[in-house]
């Protein structure tokens, strides 16, 4: 027998050969398939008619005394004895499988809390609840926790959140800190109250930078080239660019955004990576020496074996963000959710949650409770949990987009820097 070519096996059995060489796609059928595809598009078009449409229409929330969220409306709401609380995972005090603060709430008010840790990102959670709200249906949740930003703004703009009855939130009025009262994205806290907040400033390793960091300019220092971390969230990225130019993000204009984008582009070749949340690993490992950072991450890193990492509020300013409690429209048990909001704003309760979560506490007076009753000076005395007046003076809020076009413009300006 002669040698065979590499592609042809020795003939053993025709069936075997057929099986071995059978094509997966054959030539001419590609055309047929294309035709079928066009047909299917017609079907798809029909489905579109009953599928996802536009989000433009604001929700009808009734008028006068029937208007949802009005004092009269709230007067009619009764506590049902239970409510659905959607939050981010591991964002509340946890001890032996239970949540002590929620249990205390149940004991004090008789309301059971169905606590679900179903939120992983703002964008995907919004993508999940928006279609229901658009369709005039409830989301299945009575309380959600969302970060300030476009998605929360959308919920507010579309009137998909129930305005709060502040007469039932005396604890908020009494104990909430100035940082979280009447934020620019929700004046007078009409729809939201803060759950936790945080700073986005600069985190760095002084052993590797060789010096103290004081300014946003330091993120542009060529000496750190290749070891600079920036955030891949374009709101954070754009805002730090604005800060560097000395512009207050809340009052910035589109021209300002372009200027910020330019200096960010200049920085690009020095940036090691645009991180989502993993910048903290890079800082811990020493791959990155200086990075945009969240205050809570640095606090935790300090606790966890990296005491040398530092968080600094640059003199140009620090960005302040908040995760907010809100009650979505068509919630089944709004009165119960509202009761929890009020309960949370007691220093004792906020302290218990804070001792666990370690971001910025919305109740400054919780500090002494943590120091004394909970005997946790690390948390109580940390400026990352209870910022000083000097720090809060430098806190800036993010720009609140008025409509989709503005949001789109911002994205169009800053996304290309991150994703090229």
């Amino acid at each position: 027998m002669t040698e065979h070519e590499a592609n042809e096996p020795m003939s053993v059995d025709p069936a075997l050969v057929r099986g071995l060489t059978e094509p997966r796609i054959s030539r001419g059928k590609l055309v047929q398939r294309a035709g079928a595809g066009v047909l299917a598009l017609g079907v798809a078009g029909f489905l579109e008619a009953c599928g996802v449409g536009g989000a433009n229409k604001k929700a009808s929330t009734g008028t006068g005394a029937n208007e949802i969220g009005s004092t009269a409306w709230w007067a009619k709401q009764k506590q049902a004895g239970t409510f659905q609380f959607a939050n981010w995972p591991y964002y509340i005090d946890t001890s032996h499988g239970k949540h002590p603060t929620l249990e205390q709430f149940t004991k004090a008010t008789g309301i059971k809390v169905n606590y679900e840790e179903v939120i992983q990102n703002n964008d995907s959670f919004y993508a999940k609840i928006a279609p229901s709200l658009q369709g005039g249906q409830g989301t299945g949740y009575d309380m959600v926790v969302m970060t300030n930003g476009w998605y929360l703004t959308e919920l507010i703009n579309h009137r998909w959140l129930i305005p709060l009855d502040h007469s039932r939130l005396p604890n908020f009025a009494k104990y909430a800190g100035s940082l979280v009262k009447s934020p620019s994205y929700d004046p007078a806290n009409k729809y939201t109250t803060a759950w936790q907040s945080g700073f986005t400033g600069i985190g760095y390793d002084p052993r590797l930078t060789g010096r103290e960091i004081t300014s946003v300019e330091d993120l542009w220092d060529p000496k750190f080239s290749g070891h600079i971390g920036m955030m891949s969230d374009n709101t954070e990225l754009g805002s730090v660019g604005l800060l560097k130019l000395g512009i207050n993000p809340v009052t910035s204009t589109q021209a300002d955004w372009h200027k910020a984008a330019n200096i960010l582009k200049q920085q690009r070749h020095m940036v090691r990576q645009y991180y989502d949340q993993s910048y903290i690993q890079a800082l811990e490992n020493g791959d990155t020496w200086i990075s945009q950072a969240w205050s809570g991450d640095i606090f935790q890193a300090n606790e966890n074996g990296y005491p040398h990492l530092k968080f600094v509020v640059p003199h140009e300013g620090v960005m302040h963000w908040t995760d907010n409690m809100a009650i979505p429209l068509h919630a089944a048990h709004p009165a119960d959710a509202l009761a929890w909001m009020n309960f949370y704003y007691q220093p004792k309760i906020a302290a218990e949650v804070e001792d666990w979560v370690n971001y910025i506490c919305p109740v400054p007076s919780a500090k002494s409770y943590i120091a004394k009753q909970l005997d946790d000076p690390t948390v109580a005395h940390s400026p990352l949990v209870f910022p000083t007046a000097a720090m809060t003076a430098k806190a800036h809020e993010y720009y609140t987009f008025k409509n989709f076009n503005e949001f789109n413009t911002w994205n169009g300006i800053f996304n290309p820097i991150i994703q090229s």
Partner: protein, 279 residues
């Protein structure tokens, strides 16, 4: 038929390989090296599951040895139930995908049919479609039909992509099977179902096991599609991803370790069982 006889007989190649002594060491050594390489990140996870963590959240700075987390592994009830859900869905979707995919694989391998070309392309598109789009499209679908999101919708979504993977793997196996064997069985009086059960199925078994393992791994680890179609009940990856913002608890590493060693135990048990049946 020589081909038939050849198919039914599998004699290992050891006899011929005695010529190539160095290669005999090289190859197994390579295999174990690669297995070790795949295990490296797992080893890190196992090591740090014993790490003390002052703040209750995982860290890669070594703080001291402790077994506390193993004692408290189920302390976070939401995490534990997320893990349970992941297993339930992975098992369910694997079984259903096999039930759907094996017949399709046979149909694609054995026959030439017009529908086969369409099925082929659908399978490819299923694998090629980006997870984001599959997830979002299914979510729109469920909302339009007013189907409440929960473990059921996650199961449906997982089967939707697992079927394609199972089909591809099983078909690679089925392509080599000679249909004449089944004909021989029916010539000897077996009904089509008996022929399938006693002849084809055992021959397909390596493909079925491989496809099943793959489907299980994909399902238990899926994140993007699950994120879209999940309801109040979470899966393991979903919980972990959401916790990254505030810090992952050490129980996550402990659970990962338990999953891994649970699998090792199953592998060992499998080995022992097989040795028994051979005797």
């Amino acid at each position: 038929m020589t081909a038939v006889a050849g198919m039914l007989e599998r004699r290992p190649l050891e006899a011929k390989a005695s010529r190539v002594r160095p290669a005999r060491f090289l190859l197994p050594a390579y295999v174990w090296l690669v297995i070790a390489y795949t295990v490296v990140p797992i080893a890190v996870m196992v090591a740090y599951s014993f790490n003390q963590t002052p703040s209750g959240k995982t860290t890669f700075a070594w703080q001291g040895f402790t077994t506390t987390w193993y004692a408290q592994v189920f302390a976070i009830s939401d995490l534990t139930s997320a893990l349970e859900h992941s297993f339930e869905i992975a098992t369910g979707s694997t079984i259903i995908s096999l039930l759907l995919g094996v017949p399709l694989a046979l149909a694609l391998a054995r026959y030439r049919w017009r529908g086969g070309v369409v099925a082929d392309s659908v399978i490819f598109i299923d694998i090629a479609a980006p997870s984001v789009v599959v997830g979002a499209s299914l979510l729109s679908f469920f909302i339009t039909l007013n189907i409440a999101r929960g473990l059921g919708t996650i199961l449906i979504a997982h089967v939707a992509f697992n079927v394609a993977f199972v089909t591809v793997v099983v078909r690679a196996r089925a392509l080599g099977l000679d249909p004449a064997i089944e004909k021989a069985a029916s010539d000897l009086g077996a009904s089509p179902w008996t022929a399938f059960r006693t002849v084809t199925l055992p021959l397909l078994l390596p493909g079925i096991i491989s496809g099943g393992l793959l489907a299980f791994a994909m399902s238990i680890d899926d994140f993007i599609i699950t994120q879209f179609v999940a309801g109040p009940k979470l899966t393991f990856p979903l919980w972990i991803y959401g916790a990254v913002k505030t810090g992952i608890p050490p129980q996550v590493f402990v659970m990962g370790t338990m999953i891994f060693f649970g699998g090792v135990l199953i592998a060992i048990a499998n080995t022992i069982l097989q040795r028994r049946t051979q005797l």
